[in-house]
């Protein structure tokens, strides 16, 4: 009894669980019972959204547009004309950049006409020979950060060429080269706006929250309706997806600039503009760069998903390979994406850290040496390409553009490996698979589905109330209410079950692994590096090896999710434990605690809030992956979103479903974040 009065939260939890189970047993499963399932009052929402979007696109604000073809004015809706203009602008730039790499005539067509091309077959933008691009990449790497980066850049680009993925890689690269700068710029502008104006921050915050928890797929649907299908639509979807983290990090970075630095800028006589661009932004560079980095990673993560709406490049090839179970090819393409990601990541960081030397008294040659080398590389590459044209008389000029799928390939090797694994471990894998599905997943799924809606509300809001207070409980209630009133409650439960299973396993793995590695400084460094490395992988990549092992089943999705979601759990555990102040370790040692005691009673309690933030990230990661997993067949919200992409009426449905997923994530996020922040404050860690 004494224990209970001392720990009121324990009592509250016990009561909460009692009420929860009572409700589970008491409420009878019948469609008419509103304690069992709420009526889908928001059923019309998707259609209302559809109609509004259609109205906006096709009827709103007709304007007179001159049509050259019929030589007359025509009435067209304003909004559609606007999106059309944006689309064609994007398409023009994407094609232009693409043709710099690969050659072509679309840019010239855009400024003339197809007739012109037909009459003048010479009017074609020549491609840069791949040797030139590899050479330039090496030079750029060397200029930015010396030999190491030169080697990395060289190996990456060479791989793309040698393995016959040159064309799709350049397509993907051109796509990133458009989407990333636009996202960065947009993110910077919005971030600065939010920094300057309090109301902008209050306005953007909830929007960013939703945007960062919406699954990738749900961005695609409205983009199709507004901008159609194609590379430009993919780029726009990518930009919408990649901008939020940039806004976040810009704002965070600007807010972290020390007051003294701002004062020093003011006292140096900076104008508002100088203060922003010469003091605040450079000082916040660290965070802003992480933002740029995130944008590049998000863009690459989207290349695969954006291929659903017509992005060409590695992504669509990967999709095709996975769809036809050509795992070997899939692995090769996956490696290409990872290599591009790693190279872009390192190069952007190196570029940002460069400094100028004011005293170097350089000769003309030294000052322009890189430009000279670049020119030499260009000339040599072009000459090589000409020689190539003479050598490889029939067929392909391997010194100009390595044709797609005509390079060296290791696909048969991987395929053989997969076959061997299947042959050797077939029964083992199948047994494991069956065991997991029949003894764990199916019962768990049924349990979730057997939960009355009233019980779910009580449980979630109760936890919210106990851990974070009444305000948070009400917010969580509102999130759940939206899902419960939509048609998708059951689907949401399935998503929740897969995600929560993955989160539990990931958390156990991550915390264990993190705790072990955190015992030792070197091990910590190594594991953090590994986390960094794996985080560079676009999420889709994780599906490749699991499909390889388990084929197209729920198990694959769950395992990919677990692997993916273990990363943040591990990282936050290591960071949390390592950040326990040394003085506390020393104090513990002098009090004579054992290693285990120190871990249990000093390190874990102090690191726990941070670890919980890791779990929070795990939840978001898991949700993302589960939804992406719909691609290989799960029966949750993700599957419906995927369907909505090909549905002409899909906009509203896709958005509603996306919001459902986002709200699941945000509900968890609300509880954990509020609790962790309060706990950190109580421990004096902030």
């Amino acid at each position: 009894m004494d224990y209970l009065t001392k720990h009121p939260k324990t009592v509250q939890f016990i009561i909460l669980l009692a009420v929860f189970f009572a409700l589970c047993f008491a409420v009878s499963p019948s469609e008419s019972n509103i304690l069992w399932r709420l009526p889908p009052l928001l059923k019309q929402l998707p259609y209302i959204v559809n109609d509004s979007v259609r109205y906006l696109m096709f009827d709103w604000m007709p304007i007179q547009v001159y049509d050259a073809l019929i030589d007359d004015y025509e009435e067209k809706p304003l909004f559609r004309e606007m999106t059309r203009t944006v689309s064609s602008a994007f398409l023009l730039v994407i094609n232009f950049i693409r043709e710099i790499f690969l050659g072509g005539n679309k840019t010239i067509v855009a400024f003339t006409s197809w007739d012109f091309i037909n009459e003048n077959p010479w009017a074609r933008w020549p491609a840069l020979p791949w040797t030139v691009i590899v050479g330039w990449a090496i030079l750029l790497g060397y200029k930015l950060h010396g030999k190491g980066l030169a080697v990395l850049a060289g190996v990456c680009t060479l791989y793309l060429a040698v393995f016959g993925q040159w064309k799709p890689s350049m397509e993907t690269l051109s796509f990133v080269l458009i989407a990333a700068p636009v996202s960065v710029l947009l993110g910077l502008v919005l971030g600065i706006w939010a920094f300057k104006r309090k109301y902008a921050e209050t306005l953007l915050n909830p929007l960013l929250n939703v945007a960062q928890t919406m699954p990738h797929y749900s961005y695609l649907v409205p983009v199709i309706v507004l901008f159609g299908v194609g590379d430009h639509a993919a780029a726009i979807a990518t930009i919408v997806f990649a901008t939020p983290p940039m806004v976040r990090l810009t704002l965070l970075g600007l807010q972290k600039v020390p007051a003294d630095v701002v004062d020093a800028g003011m006292m140096s006589g900076c104008t508002a503009f100088q203060l922003m661009f010469r003091v605040l932004i450079p000082t916040a560079r660290r965070d802003i760069l992480i933002g740029v980095n995130q944008v590049v990673m998000q863009c690459l993560a989207m290349t695969v998903i954006a291929s659903f709406i017509g992005a060409q490049g590695l992504g669509s090839n990967l999709m095709i390979a996975l769809n036809s179970l050509r795992v070997g090819t899939g692995i090769e393409i996956g490696v290409c994406i990872v290599l591009i990601a790693v190279a872009l990541d390192k190069m952007s960081l190196a570029w940002a850290n460069k400094q100028t030397d004011y005293f170097a008294d350089l000769s003309f040659f030294q000052r322009h040496k890189f430009a000279l080398f670049a020119a030499i590389v260009f000339v040599v590459g072009v000459i090589l390409a000409y020689i190539g044209a003479l050598v490889f008389r029939d067929g392909f000029n391997y010194l100009y553009i390595v044709p797609h799928n005509k390079g060296v390939t290791t696909a048969p090797f991987w395929q053989a490996t997969v076959d061997w694994i299947w042959d050797t471990f077939f029964y083992m894998l199948r047994t494991f698979n069956e065991f997991l599905i029949t003894s764990v997943l199916v019962p768990m799924k049924n349990m979730y589905l057997a939960m009355p809606v009233a019980a779910t509300f009580v449980l979630m809001m109760g936890i919210g109330y106990i851990l974070a207070g009444i305000r948070q409980a009400l917010i969580i209630g509102a999130f759940l209410l939206f899902i419960a009133l939509s048609e998708y409650w059951d689907r949401a439960l399935i998503t929740a079950y897969i995600a929560s299973f993955a989160v539990i396993v990931s958390a156990v793995f991550g915390i264990t692994l993190g705790s072990i590695c955190a015992q030792n400084a070197t091990a910590s460094k190594v594991i953090l590096l590994i986390c960094d490395f794996f985080q560079t992988f676009p999420s889709f990549i994780y599906l490749i090896p699991v499909i390889m092992l388990f084929g197209i089943t729920d198990t694959s999705v769950i395992i990919a999710t677990i692997v993916y979601a273990t990363i943040p759990a591990t990282r936050y555990t290591v960071e949390g434990l390592r950040s326990v102040p040394q003085v506390l370790h020393d104090a513990g040692s002098m009090l004579g605690v054992s290693r285990l005691q120190r871990w249990v009673s000093i390190e874990v309690p102090l690191a726990f809030p941070h670890i919980m933030l890791g779990i929070n990230q795990t939840v978001i990661f898991a949700l993302f992956m589960v939804i992406i997993g719909a691609f290989i067949g799960t029966t949750d919200l993700g599957q419906l979103i995927l369907k909505a992409i090909s549905d002409p009426q899909g906009t509203g449905i896709g958005l509603t479903l996306g919001l459902c997923v986002a709200f699941i994530g945000l509900a968890v996020d609300q509880i954990i974040r509020t609790w962790a922040n309060e706990r950190k404050k109580a421990l004096g860690l902030d």
Partner: protein, 356 residues
């Protein structure tokens, strides 16, 4: 007499504050107006307002080093921020170099800062992405000087603060003392007339602090700027100041020369600070000497009138006869007997006071 004339000439106020108030909180201005300038910080606190600066009037003269001393929360930094207009004073008048600071528009303020003011910060406020040289050149570049000019000027400043050879280092690669040298060089790069220093040495180790104070005095001897120096360290204030303003709860408790503050503390609060101060380290020869007596037989030793008693005590005690005290031109202005020095050194507080 000559001394006095010089002083009169120098008494041209570069900065003048008249009844400056700074009160934090919403509708501070209207509350202040209705209180008719009588501010009780406790009552204001109950109303949700925090009083930073309470009715401060002071003047800083050309070439003078005025130290604002106070403990944390005394409003000293807030006052400095008001005078540099990093925050706007709630009420009062601040005249800087003949201009009403609070009436300046944004553009004029920027011009003033670009040409007349330099400031050094407690935690240095260096731009982390710029090298030592770029940091120092920054105010010049902001003004629009060419890269060549600003870099060569910055290089001069690097030499002035003794950081030669480190101009391409980043702030994070420097020790605290070196970082503050950069901060000092940066604040001096535009050759300002007015120099603000906000606890410049507080973040440094005691030994480095002493070194930096010496360095600072050396610079000031060369440059002769008008200086407002904020510190919480009373010893530092005594060491550096021409005059000290002691602040408490936003009010200036006493504004006077170090010697007068030690000898005549105006309030109980000030007296507590002065209690443990070794007076020979504060008092100058002129404040303990006798008027010259033509009949007296003096020793050969000549003591400058502005020397600290501490620095000449040993010499004087070695003399049997009283010594002559001279001004900077070598004219005799008084005499000092070793018995006086002993009194300063070993108590006799009332004696020393009588001399004044």
């Amino acid at each position: 007499m000559t001394v006095n004339v010089q002083q009169e000439d120098a008494r041209h106020a570069v900065i003048r504050c008249e009844s400056v108030y700074k009160i934090f909180g919403s509708n501070a201005a209207s509350v202040l107006e209705s209180s008719n300038g009588v501010v009780d910080s406790k009552k204001f606190l109950e109303a949700g307002l925090i009083v930073g600066v309470n009715n401060v009037s002071l003047e800083v003269y050309q070439g003078e080093l005025l130290v604002i001393m106070g403990l944390s929360g005394s409003g000293k930094s807030t006052l400095l921020r008001c005078i540099s207009r990093l925050t706007d004073a709630t009420a009062g008048k601040i005249i800087v170099d003949g201009q009403d600071l609070l009436a300046l528009n944004h553009k004029q303020l920027i011009e003033l800062r670009r040409n007349k003011m330099g400031m050094v910060f407690q935690s240095f406020g260096l731009l982390p992405h710029k090298t030592v040289l770029e940091n120092i050149a920054f105010p010049l570049q902001v003004k629009g000087s060419s890269t060549r000019d600003s870099i060569s000027r910055a290089m001069e400043m690097v030499k002035l603060v003794g950081l030669d050879g480190r101009e391409n280092y980043f702030p994070r690669e420097l020790s605290g003392g070196q970082q503050q040298r950069v901060g000092i060089a940066r604040s001096l790069a535009v050759e300002p007339d007015i120099w603000f220093l906000d606890e410049p040495f507080s973040a440094l180790d005691p030994l480095i602090r002493k070194e930096m104070q010496d360095e600072f005095l050396r610079l000031q001897a060369v440059l002769g700027k008008t200086i407002l120096f904020v510190t919480h360290d009373f010893d530092e204030a005594l060491r550096l100041a021409d005059r000290i303003a002691i602040m408490k709860d936003g009010v200036v408790e006493q504004l006077d020369t170090p010697a007068n503050i030690v000898l005549h503390p105006a309030t109980e609060y000030v007296r507590k600070f002065t209690e443990d101060v070794p007076r020979e380290k504060v008092l100058r020869v002129e404040s303990v000497m006798d008027a010259p007596d033509p009949d007296e037989v003096l020793g050969d030793l000549r003591i400058p009138m502005d020397a600290l008693v501490d620095s000449v005590a040993e010499q004087i005690l070695g003399e049997e006869k009283p010594v002559a005290v001279v001004d900077s031109n070598g004219n005799m202005v008084g005499t000092l007997h070793s018995s006086h020095v002993i009194k300063v050194l070993f108590g006799g507080r009332s004696e020393a006071t009588d001399q004044q």
